[in-house]
Symmetry: C2
DNA sequence: GTCTATAGGAAGATAGAC
DNA sequence: GTCTATCTTCCTATAGAC
């Protein structure tokens, strides 16, 4: 069973899975991420995960109870990391505009830089066991709550001109999340340019003065 | 082998799969859609599809060559239908604003009303054979081209104030597409309200005067 | 903790009868 | 076109040796 330490250093060559111990569990986690990303949870076999990790089929089960537990680990690490960058952006000094802009920017850039684990996080949730799904749903609600709270600060202060706060929050998170569907580091867009574009569009949506 | 007639009557109780003939092929297509939606392409078995369609396992293969061909049929019908509503909206009279607003509205509403086939279309593409994937990519490029062309009309006429046309097109399509990830008819949002919200946000992104 | 071996079943696709 | 039967391969998970 791996330690679930959150090592959310997403830039500078670090990896979201660096905190998974011991090494065999980390190798399996990497192999599982590759496979879930490529062929989905249903298309992934435990044999393939084990072999990509350089182990025998049976050895997977001394690190993890099941294929589903491996999905849960990845999904949990990804969601915790995404929430963390959003919270960090919301704690910046400045105006509500500054903070919301930073939140959209960082959320988008996270989905681009971590597009592999992000894609697994966003599109394989239905394969989780009910209790694991509920745990992830809590983090997702928190992500929504953190952004909505900051938007409401800007509405109250008159910085933003929005009637439909829920609609904006939904749209802003959707923009970031959908990046995980199509992003590729071999494409023309850099994470930074993309995040800048979306942050600017979000400011327009808010009718900033 | 089913006829691939496009029956894009998406409202009024009609079904995108109505044009699939004969009836056995249509039943299999419905069952495949259900299963691809629920557990993904990799998690779907031909046995399950056949049994849900009320047939034996082997009978699937007198309508379709493979599981992948069934995915291709669904993906093709969905994409053709989505393109069709976008083209219809682009042919409306009025200003470029009217047309782009209608395009975002209709594209969003399509992904909400057809959220099951839309989810399969958007998230199972990687399972397609290369030649099938290429055929779908053509339709997707056409979808992007149609919207971009109309935005450029509005930019040229001075109706829109956008520097980054590609960024806007990407964001507007993303908003619509991402609806397929989370939409449920049992949720609080109606397709109409959602589409209206996103169409309004798109107009703000365009800096309409 | 890792291995080999295996249980016990299910996978995609095909063959041949009706 | 649909059925039953089957080929061959593969599946998740466990058992027991080292």
């Amino acid at each position: 069973m791996p330690q679930e330490l959150l090592q959310a250093e997403t830039s500078g060559g670090h990896d979201l899975l660096d905190g998974v111990e011991p090494e065999s569990a980390q190798k399996l986690a990497h192999a599982a991420l590759d496979s879930f990303f490529e062929v989905g949870y249903g298309g992934t076999t435990t044999r393939h995960i084990s072999q990509q990790a350089g182990m025998s089929t049976g050895s997977l089960y001394s690190s993890y109870r099941s294929k589903e537990e491996l999905l849960f680990l990845l999904t949990q690490l990804g969601h915790q990391s995404a929430l963390q960058v959003l919270v960090a952006a919301s704690e910046q000094p400045g105006t509500a505009s500054d903070r919301v802009r930073a939140m959209v920017y960082e959320f988008t850039i996270w989905h681009a830089r971590n597009y592999r684990i992000a894609r697994v996080c966003q599109y394989q949730l239905a394969a989780l066991a009910p209790e694991h799904h509920a745990a992830i749903a809590k983090i997702r609600h928190e992500i929504e709550r953190v952004l909505r709270a900051e938007v409401e600060v800007g509405v109250a202060s008159g910085e933003f001109d929005v009637v439909d706060v829920k609609g904006f929050v939904l749209a802003a998170l959707s923009l970031g999340i959908d990046v995980a569907r199509w992003f590729s580091p071999t494409g023309r867009q850099t994470p930074e340019a993309l995040a800048g574009s979306y942050a600017g569009l979000a400011m327009r949506m808010l009718g900033t003065v």
